[in-house]
Point group: C2
Chain length 176, copies 2
DNA sequence: ATGGAATTTTAACCTCGGTTAACGCCCCCC
DNA sequence: GGGGGGCGTTAACCGAGGTTAAAATTCCAT
């Protein structure tokens, strides 16, 4: 079975506006979401109210909270639309269950997970080995279109900085 | 087919001493390794010679460089034994190939990848949201046995600090 | 046991980015 | 058109951790 077929048969379409939550940190949400269009952010909020952006999610991406869906706990992060967004929702359990019985779907799942693991490995590399300034430079190189879609605030919190810090770095690089 | 069976039929056992490399950064190595016993570190070396430790690998872990094995490039990091180590080596291509035709193996692979993704997600969380001191505290909590097996130097480079910085943090926490 | 190397600690100085606060800008809504 | 709130920038001050160097300690290997 193809993944798109599974979405048709067991998925559910959703349309959300800018600013709407898909799920919140601390809730239980055992679904996975395929992004048809729009833009979202996945983010942590610390005890003292600070926000940290885990990732931006763009069309074609596949997202859900594994600690909730796979382990059965609560969501470690929240998911919010930064623009009007169309999603296909599917219970993780259905995807997991079908992949146990269907080689094509299992293979699709494996490829997706390999890509996810490589993406996270790269982010690990950037936090481990690069300075904040170097992380910003790398992002400008690798995802220039993203810079036009998200605010400076969100960009900073994705890079592990404050907006003030990012503004300073930009001045250092671009302006004299 | 069970994974252990695949290892028996297509894997190859290796015994390495402390200080030996499994593969080096920049090489091509398309194998994956199952760790029977021992301890290893996976690490990056920057252009100016600084070392950054990506992860420690312990018995039961499964490790290989995806960018080399899956994408066909060169290894983004190196892998070195910190203690005498026994490994089972298997070409990634064989594991991937069999998982396309064998549901049990595919399922094993999916579970491993989900666990890997969650592990990397947690490390991302720690770099994104925690200070160096908080990362050290979290490690003391979650992996106390590791602290006895690796040097302070390697621990620091795993936490994204210098040995000097880690020593200072320890004094701040433990000693007055 | 002993000499040498690696590891860990300490100290002095410095840099980067956090914090707070003020200011200007833009957008949007009333 | 006017007011308010989010966003981006700037400035002043501060603190965590980097860098360098030297001393103290531990670990081995001969």
């Amino acid at each position: 079975m193809e993944f798109s077929e599974l979405l048709r048969s067991e998925g559910q379409s959703m349309t959300l506006g800018k600013g709407e939550h898909v799920f919140r940190q601390g809730e239980g949400d055992k679904s996975f979401y395929y992004v048809r269009s729009g833009l979202l952010k996945a983010f942590y909020v610390s005890d003292d109210g600070k926000e940290f952006i885990k990732s931006f999610i763009v069309p074609g991406d596949f997202i859900g909270c594994m600690t909730s869906a796979y382990l059965g706990g609560t969501c470690a992060f929240g998911l919010l639309c930064l623009a009007p967004t169309q999603l296909d929702r599917i219970p993780f359990e259905r995807l997991y269950w079908h992949s146990r019985a269907d080689l094509e779907l299992a293979h699709f799942f494996i490829d997706r997970l390999l890509q996810l693991a490589m993406k996270k490995e790269r982010r690990e590399y950037e936090f481990l080995c690069l300075s904040a300034e170097a992380r910003y430079r790398a992002l400008v190189e690798s995802a220039p279109t993203l810079l036009e879609q998200v605010t400076q605030n969100d960009l900073a919190r994705y890079l592990g900085l404050t907006p003030v810090g990012l503004s300073r770095i930009k001045r250092r690089i671009h302006g004299g």
